[in-house]
Amino acid sequence: MTATTIASALDAPTRTALAGFLLAMADDEFVIGFSDSEWTGIAPILEEDVAMSSIAQDELGHARALYELLAGLLDDGRDADALAYDREPEAYRHARLLDHGRGDWAMTIARRFLYDTADAARLASIGAGWPPLAELVAKIRREERYHAMHALAWVDRLARAGGEARARFVAALDELARDAPSVLATPGGEAALLEAGILGRSMAAAFDAWRSDVAGVLRPLMTPLALEPAADAARHRAAPSDDFRWLWGEFTSVRRSEPGATW
């Protein structure tokens, strides 16, 4: 069965809520994937060049699969590429955490660590209510495990390094702490998603689990990070950051110069 036929079993409010939730997840994976791919060719060491490129490829693959589910659900003639590329910067629904640019290596690792752990809490919240998403998420979680191991190894290395490496890493975590909870902001129509079993727990419950995961990792390494739940509207903003506008210009440049190009 296709996503479209299974979607017809959902009532309208649930479909709307699911579409918003899928768009947020897809945009998150898409934006962090493109940000990570900026390290291709210029990472601090060759192994990390390979690792960040591979992680970016995974994330863009996840984004494509999620946009395809969304395209089937919306059934409005737009395909995954149209959903990914044919929007103005204001229409992206990625978490505010990902409005921060790539920055230096410490910033990249801090952002990946906060995102990977929050995303893991989100993926663990998906229920069996909509099989196409549940099946995809089961597959994605197996891949994300490697991203988490990579991020945790670097968190440990930077935090224990002392000197400038540690100072930059701690500063990056502090800078991102305010926006990191936006990954787990309560989605519109969450009650309908819970009712349909598409979500097995609320994002507020996911946030609590994530906050304790982060605390567990950082406790032996540094003073705790203050993480407060995000406001409801955290994914909507009239004015995306300059960093995101720049990234948008990069990732849409081919699409805008040759609409409909394929290779």
Binding site: A51, D58, A138, K139, R142, E143, Y146
Partner: protein, 157 residues
């Protein structure tokens, strides 16, 4: 006019045999059958359906594998439809014994938990992982302290 005689339907095993000739373009030594990617083959009255499981969600070889499967089944004389699905998650446990042997012969350590990885060249277990990530999504980077050669291992997933 004599009634038209339907051509014999291709047999599922014959199709599976033909798919043994389709390799993963990133690891040409192993067929998609031995990788465990072929989940279902269905022979309908007017077409062959093949359901494949992607090894990784974003594996860029998916479209190439799809077209290679269609070409490989063309001699059966009916259209082939190739679909990818996540109905069952592909895991590295699906690689067959033949697939594991072919991986080793091609210089890749087959998937194993970290303590069980062996150097595909000399068989030594005195190996260290350099990186979780390698040149393709499904491989990681290792080094053998005995024969002092780098090698790649298929990720357990």
């Amino acid at each position: 006019m004599s009634p038209a005689v339907a051509p014999p339907r291709p047999d599922e095993e014959a199709i599976r045999d033909a798919l043994r000739g389709v390799a993963d373009p990133e690891i040409p030594a192993v067929s998609i059958v031995d990788l465990g990617m072929v989940e279902r083959i269905e022979v309908g009255p007017d077409r062959i359906e093949v359901e494949l499981l992607p090894t990784f969600v974003g594996c860029p070889a998916q479209e190439l594998i799809r077209s290679t499967v269609i070409d490989a089944l063309a001699p059966f004389g009916c259209p082939t439809v190739v679909g990818y699905s996540f109905r069952v998650p592909w895991t590295s446990d699906r690689i067959t014994a033949t697939g594991r042997a072919n991986l080793t012969a091609a210089g890749f350590a087959p998937p194993a938990e970290p303590g069980d990885v062996r150097c595909p060249r000399c068989g030594s277990g005195v190996v260290v992982r350099d990186s979780y990530f390698g040149p393709t999504q499904c491989r990681s980077l290792w080094y053998c302290r005995d024969c002092r050669q780098p090698f790649e291992a298929f990720k357990p997933i």
